[in-house]
Symmetry: C2
């Protein structure tokens, strides 16, 4: 069985070996810039791990795995334009380093490069792989749309929020795993279990992300604690709090959300205080635990020897027990 680091190296090597059309060189400069920024390569590694569950040979899954990573980066470059983000992985975003038009166009070509990678799947599973990939791509666009819609809404239910993060981020992890399984010739039910594993893992991960930003340990978190509160970000914590609050608590929350000038530390303390009174933290931790349990149980259900699952188990534990 391949180890995480081995698979990461395989993915990075494949990415470095990608060849581009040099007739329109400027089109591909941002693509290379973005793809060589590195990152943990979680999604393509998961594709390869899922393939490796069922098959000792993983070569045939390498290009589809790269396709998942290219698609992920395509969404990042366009999302960064929409969110006006200036920094990505410590470097300037594409639209900041070049310009918006270049970021739109280089993003577009990445969608088709991802497609091209997927077309390298073995003929026997090609149609399945293409269908999973394409349905997922449309889901991810729908998730981004819901996220944009939420910004305009004063109230978002936690059910809608969970569906949004499911579409925007969890389904891609799910698809990465299912494509790996399908490429490794897994039975349909087994591939479906990996999809469910990925989807629940993605949900649990995103919920933890929200928890860490407010309740993380400042000594290990890396970023400043409470940023989401300062920026009024509609996290699952705030959404849950707005669902539970009434009377004076709701007034205080709404007051804090409307303040145009404020002391950050004071705002964080006030909002956290309401969260605490409403037991929001433990309600959200329960949600995270629920999805974590579902993820583990899907993975445990997969009908392959336990020893084959070890790497995926370890990666899951790493993702879900993080402190930063």
């Amino acid at each position: 069985m391949y180890k995480y680091v081995e698979l990461q190296n395989i993915v990075n090597r494949a990415i470095n070996n990608m060849s581009y059309d040099y007739e329109a060189e400027k089109l591909f400069e941002p693509v290379k810039y973005l793809m060589s920024m590195g990152g943990k390569r979680i999604r393509p590694v998961m594709t390869l791990m899922a393939c490796n569950l069922f098959d000792d040979k993983i070569e045939k899954a390498i290009l589809p795995a790269v396709g998942i990573e290219v698609f992920h980066n395509f969404t990042l470059v366009h999302d960064d334009i929409m969110d006006k983000s200036e920094i990505r992985r410590g470097s300037a975003t594409v639209h900041k380093k070049w310009n918006v038009n270049q970021a739109i166009l280089s993003g577009d070509v990445m969608a088709f490069i991802a497609n091209e990678c997927m077309l390298s799947a073995p003929a026997s599973v090609l149609m399945q792989v293409m269908k999973i990939f394409n349905d997922t791509a449309i889901d991810v666009c729908s998730g981004q749309q819901m996220d944009m819609d939420f910004e305009q809404k004063s109230f978002v239910s936690h059910t809608d929020y969970l569906r949004m993060i499911e579409l925007k981020t969890a389904v891609l992890l799910a698809a990465a795993l299912k494509i790996g399984a399908v490429t490794g010739n897994a039975e349909p039910e087994e591939a479906e279990k990996l999809y469910s594993f990925g989807s629940n893992l993605g949900l649990a991960f995103q919920i933890q992300d929200d928890l860490l930003d407010t309740y993380g340990d400042p000594r290990v978190f890396g970023k400043k604690i409470g940023n989401d509160i300062v920026s009024n970000k509609k996290t699952i914590l705030l959404i849950k709090a707005l669902e539970l609050a009434s009377g004076p608590q709701l007034n205080i929350l709404n007051h804090q959300l409307q303040l145009e000038e404020f002391d950050s530390e004071e705002k964080i303390a006030e909002v956290k205080n309401i969260f605490d009174e409403l037991n929001v933290k433990s309600a959200v931790e329960d949600m995270a635990r629920q999805y974590t349990d579902l993820a583990y149980s899907s993975l445990e259900d997969v009908k392959v020897e336990k020893v084959r699952k070890e790497e995926l188990m370890q990666l899951t534990a790493f993702l879900l027990n993080r402190t930063k």
Copy 2:
């Protein structure tokens, strides 16, 4: 054999019947808006005509044909952002009616809807269709990049310009035809002839577009004559003139290109005068004729009964003998 109007109706019906995911309704509103604007549906009709050359049954080519039209509209919505265009087919562009973020995202989802349509091609030709479509999509992005690059350059050769319009517009017509032929089970050489026909037809059409804007008959052209000259657009006429001009003629051309305030009619007259002195019109007409001849000869070479080609011949004549 199907007539143009019949095929246009088939395409329009298929477009009207497309179903969208209503979970993120706002994502698809711009898609429906754009797809229902109409237009001549030249590309998808050509896909169906190419299929019909080889096969009386064209049903299997309908969704791939729609995919070509969706892809074409995807490029329009993103190009309109990049060009800051406000009007498309007499209506507000998507980024104007909604906003840039919505136009980016709705454009993105169209790329995957196009993909989905292509995935409906018959299994026996699926891989071929997907490959043609995907290679073409990357070519079109490269063409758009070259077009953007040209805006920053003071000198563009006519060879580079022709390659740009080939990639930006002609290859999609070529791919539309080749995909139709492949779906109609044409032999590889025959499908290749249709590709060559489409590519040359597209080039001839674009060159004529440039000619009409400067030399069209004002009574039938519809738009004002000379717009390209007024806006310093790098058309094949201007590019050819800059290649041929020297001494005083080059000075006058450069002077006109640099004027910040001017009388439009005067500028048009001055530039046209240089074009005339350099015989640019006839040089460019020669180019158009050359591509027209290549297009017709590719179509004539296709090994099917002449009567089957009649509709495609008529459409070609309509496209190449237009006056507006």
